[in-house]
Subunit: 230 residues, 2 copies
């Protein structure tokens, strides 16, 4: 293994163990010594990669952001309609938050605005929901006789935010089962009968996207810092 490869591996492992420490103890209580020990490296190696706890936290957040964006993106194949893409994207995000500690810890740090910065993942998700509903409207899929597009967007943002928050204590809230139930409950109010017939509230074709998104995020983060895999 070259020196470069070892640096990549160490940085990756530090990001993951920082995420574990933040999730377990919270940002304020997490100790750098614990993070380096979890990653199996010396405190000096941690300081080579990150100048402070805030710097590690920011990297966990940006890595989570990249993972979540990629997962949402990969869940939207171009041949599916906008409502199915929205459903798929929510399933991809739920799965990532359920299974990837870096995505989960980064998302929470970001929601709690622990280390500041311009990244706002909840806002990004809201933008994504609004964009896909606008596309769904353009595709003639929406039935806005009773509820406006604004009502529907706010409801989806609120419900998915609620699932994320409730899922912190009980991962069942982020399960495919619960998310599928959410879409079964919401889609009939917002889709035309014709569109509804073709939609799968359980999501389509998103089985293997998670690992890709996760790997991709770590590589993207590493490229940015110059400690990239070759």
């Amino acid at each position: 293994m070259t020196k470069q490869e070892r640096a990549v591996r160490t940085r990756r492992s530090l990001i993951r163990s920082a995420a574990q420490a933040f999730e377990l103890h919270g940002y304020a209580q997490a100790k750098l010594a614990d993070i380096s020990a979890r990653a199996g490296v010396s405190p000096g190696a941690l300081h080579f990669h990150f100048e402070s706890k805030a710097a590690v936290a920011r990297t966990v957040e940006t890595t989570a952001g990249v993972s979540l964006r990629r997962a949402a993106w990969l869940a939207q194949p171009p041949d599916t309609n906008a409502l199915q893409r929205l459903t798929n994207a929510s399933h991809a995000l739920g799965e990532l938050l359920r299974t990837d500690v870096v995505a989960r810890a980064g998302f929470r740090l970001n929601c709690e605005a622990v280390v500041g910065g311009a990244l706002n993942l909840r806002q990004e998700w809201r933008g994504c929901v609004e964009q896909l509903l606008a596309e769904a409207a353009a595709e003639g899929l929406l039935n806005t006789r009773r509820a406006s597009r604004t009502d529907v967007a706010a409801t989806i943002v609120a419900a998915t935010t609620g699932l994320e928050v409730l899922g912190r204590r009980d991962p069942e809230w982020l399960s495919r089962r619960t998310l599928t139930g959410l879409w079964r409950a919401v889609l009939p109010s917002l889709a035309t009968p014709e569109a509804l017939a073709g939609l799968d509230p359980g999501g389509t074709g998103i089985r293997s996207t998670r690992r890709e998104a996760e790997e991709g995020a770590l590589n993207a983060e590493l490229e940015k810092t110059g400690v990239a895999p070759t």
Copy 2:
């Protein structure tokens, strides 16, 4: 004013200023000296009523619990159907969280499990949603052709939880407008067409219930501690 009346007034004012301090600085950073100063009393007077910061926080939580229960209860006149009562209850809770600092701070302390204890307000709300949906089913109001009652209950709990969390940064999420939009988006999926026609997503007859619930909660808390208004 009798000594008894002064004690009631002081305790009430301490509960309110503690809630303000917890909301402003968070539980960990809130200072007892600041709480007594805000209430316009000496630190000794605070210690006469509460033995510790945790004791004040627990009282803020239980007071919030009483307020929220009363508000939800008062919003459910017996001559309305179960779906309208559920809609009304959510509006009453939204209004209370938006306008009453004790309800808001107590709810957050409880969600974050800051001082421990058996009270679980999110769980109570979930129970209330499930109970009212069971009553709605018994009244023949539900259309569960697409979404099961479990789906619908989880969706309503998730969406209202999301509104509370998002409302911490932006009170618009807890406005009557947003909540009305939520019900416009959700009711068509869960109510029969006949039931839907008679439902008001904006809530009915809940204009003056808040002050009653708030006053009631403080009085109930004071009665319990023996420092009750006569």
